[in-house]
């Protein structure tokens, strides 16, 4: 799965399904994290679904995305399987990173998902690198780097955009402006009003779209992709959106009030898209409810799968870290072993794993 054509009824239904899947996945992840079942941290994408889905709707299967710390939505939008995502959140061996990455490191290179990332602003350099590889190998792809509003001021983001612009690389940078960098309002972080204005510094087009409207994001990314494939270089798209939940689960959110949250919820990306599809006569309220139930069941099944799956074995702790394990790690890993066993040479890669329905591999 990857691109879907939002110009078709089928594509719109799929866009709605993916937005609902993201919301159901993250609602469940938030609950399970609160219950103490999920280790580490989770950053939820609820409210921002139209950005990830709108972006991926205008990409082809072969295109790359590089995500953020708030990456579950990007994964689902790109077609990753919630089952193995949930297993990864639970730290289980069947997860996308064999349970060693967790929420902030889900990656599936074969699906074009280069990874969520715990480092603020680390997506754009990966996207620029991927775009360079595309350019170098003359392939018909693009690479998208997602970043948050806070990341716009990061040095590596500047380097990545500058290089991509200077070399006319087929990259697209998508700023998810959810109006807060952790707890700091966007206007207290940046001197420009529209973050897309920063594009001028790189001599590339920058535009701002409604990040609560999946059709707006899809159209902008579609034009940016066409520009990139025409060899005209990268574009910067700012999508104005909002996260309904705290920066992290447990955030007490002293920096905003309920009225503000309600104002944004009134423009909910799923509700508004649902209403538009109903108005168009291509969806009924009953069909929507059915779809929602179906997706909730899918997510419940993903949780059950993750709960019952096995964690990675202790002796696998040093596997999957490097393409070729450096000798010093090898020595350290051997010394650290307590079971006296042999190191297993070939760790699982995600591409060996069969996928459940909806996540089949090319």
């Amino acid at each position: 799965m990857g691109g879907l054509d939002i110009e078709t009824e089928e594509g719109r239904r799929e866009a709605l399904r993916r937005m609902l899947t993201i919301r159901a996945f993250d609602s469940e992840a938030g609950d399970r994290f609160a219950d103490g079942e999920i280790p580490g941290f989770v950053h939820l994408y609820i409210g921002e679904e139209a950005v990830g889905v709108g972006t991926c709707a205008s990409l082809e299967d072969e295109d790359y995305i590089a995500s953020t710390h708030r990456g579950h939505g990007h994964c689902i939008a790109k077609g990753l399987d919630p089952k193995y995502m949930m297993a990864e959140l639970y730290g289980k061996a069947e997860g996308y990173c064999n349970g060693k990455g967790g929420s902030m490191h889900i990656a599936d290179v074969d699906a074009g998902m280069l990874g969520a990332n715990g480092i603020v602003g680390a997506g754009p350099p990966l996207a620029t690198g991927a775009a360079l590889s595309i350019d170098y190998q003359d392939r018909d792809q693009v690479a998208v780097g997602f970043l948050g509003d806070g990341a716009v001021a990061q040095g590596q983001v500047h380097e990545a955009m500058n290089l991509a612009a200077t070399w006319d690389l087929p990259a697209i940078f998508v700023i998810e402006n959810n109006h807060y960098g952790e707890g700091t309002p966007v206007e207290e972080q940046h001197n420009v009003d529209n973050l897309s204005d920063t594009a001028q510094a790189y001599d590339i087009p920058g535009l701002t779209v409604d990040g609560m409207d999946v059709t707006a994001v899809a159209e902008a990314v579609g034009e940016a992709r066409a520009r990139a494939r025409a060899g005209d270089g990268p574009s910067l798209i700012e999508a104005e959106t909002y996260r309904y939940r705290g920066h992290y689960e447990g955030d007490e959110e002293p920096y905003r009030d309920e009225d503000e949250i309600e104002r944004w919820k009134a423009r909910d990306p799923i509700d508004s898209f649902k209403e538009r599809l109903i108005d168009r006569g291509e969806l009924t309220a009953e069909e929507f409810d059915e779809l929602e139930h179906e997706i909730e069941a899918e997510i419940e099944a993903a949780v059950e799968y993750a709960q019952s799956a096995e964690p990675p074995a202790p002796h696998e702790a040093y596997e999957d870290m490097f393409a070729e394990t450096p000798p010093e790690i090898e020595r350290f890993a051997t010394a650290a072993r307590t079971d006296g066993g042999e190191r297993i040479e070939d760790s699982r890669s995600t591409s060996d794993r069969s996928r459940s329905e909806g996540g089949e591999r090319r």
Binding site: E7, D193, L207, T215
Partner: protein, 343 residues
């Protein structure tokens, strides 16, 4: 003391035409500088008006207040700021209620339309900072400020220098009830299904619409109509245009559809319409736009357009300065003259 209202729209000028057309970027720094020029322009008359600003969350109004010339008393309106077009409409209503003598608008067709919806008969000096604009003029901010000062202070009679622009009302009958919108220069019908990134991008999607003015020098649907049936901005009535595939059309026109986009369109019909005369388009699946931006998503709808004559009263900046000069507004008596600069 005479008062001038100032609206600077922080959101104007960042849409997708950056990517697809030849539109240029006007950032907030540039807008602020234009606004500074407007305030400087207000000092050109002896009887200097005070100025009231629309507040915003972008710091534009704050910067303008900091930079305001000493001779100009400037204040921001006290009103809630939502960071949406509602701010512009609210500010315009406040300006009207407060009885300002003129309003200067820095923005595009959309901002001017939002001001027009609430400003009543207050003269409007519309300065283009948006993407592709038909209504506001690309005039220097300082000169615009001078014009606003002349009109607001009564040095020039508003009636001598304003043109009443038209507007277009669209009323859509849909299976889910009635929907309405208002446009200033053009209400377009597009075959695109969704609002998307708002701009009317592809000439192939444009099915036609109704314009309240039609000049070849305009941009978009008014330019198409202007190529065949020119109508001045202050003339009553407008033009209804229906487009078709240029390949199969005996009549075509080439027109500027957006900055950097000249296209050939097929003309099915292009006819003058009187004020208040209904024009109907059937929209099985499409969008109705206002002044170059997609606004209303419709399916199985019948849309009725009517050109109205009661749009905003727009100040002709050139005429205001010419009449002002003729009336001696800039030729100060010795007692009014500012002190000579020290060399």
């Amino acid at each position: 003391m005479a008062r001038v209202g100032l609206v600077v729209n922080p959101a104007a000028g960042r849409d997708i035409r950056r990517l697809t057309g030849g539109a240029s970027v006007v950032d907030n720094y540039a807008k602020r500088r234009v606004a500074d020029c407007v305030l400087e322009g207000l000092t050109a008359v002896a009887d200097r008006p005070s100025v009231r600003l629309m507040p915003d969350r972008s710091g534009i109004a704050d910067h303008i207040l900091e930079e305001a010339p000493d001779a100009i008393e400037a204040e921001a309106l006290e009103m809630p700021v939502e960071n949406t077009a509602a701010d512009t409409r609210r500010a315009a209503a406040r300006f009207r209620e407060a009885g300002v003598g003129a309003v200067v608008v820095l923005g595009g067709d959309g901002t001017t339309r939002d001001v027009a919806s609430e400003i009543g008969s207050v003269p409007v000096v519309a300065v283009s900072t948006g993407t592709n604009n038909v209504v506001p003029s690309a005039v220097d901010g300082t000169v615009a400020g001078v014009a606003a000062a002349l009109v607001a202070t009564g040095a020039v009679l508003a009636a001598d220098v304003v043109d009443r622009h038209g507007r277009i009302e669209a009323r859509a009958e849909t299976p889910n009830g009635e929907k309405r919108l208002t446009a200033l220069a053009a209400a377009e019908v597009s075959s695109r299904s969704f609002i998307g990134s708002r701009a009317l991008l592809d000439p192939d999607d444009l099915r036609g619409g109704v314009v309240s003015r039609a000049r070849p020098g305009d941009i978009g649907l008014p330019a198409i109509a202007g190529a065949l049936e020119p109508v001045a901005p202050d003339e009553p009535g407008g033009v209804a245009v229906r487009l078709t595939d240029p390949e199969n059309s005996p009549r075509t026109a080439r027109a500027v559809l957006a900055p950097g986009v000249v296209a050939t369109v097929g003309i099915e019909s292009c006819e003058r319409v009187d004020s208040d005369e209904p024009v109907t388009f059937e929209v099985p699946d499409g969008v109705v736009g206002a002044d170059g931006e997609r606004e209303l998503e419709l399916t199985d709808a019948s849309v009725e357009f009517r050109v109205r004559s009661d749009g905003p009263r727009l100040v002709d900046v050139d005429a205001a300065l010419t009449i002002g000069a003729n009336a001696g507004a800039f030729a100060l008596e010795a007692t009014d003259a500012p002190p000579a600069p020290e060399d």
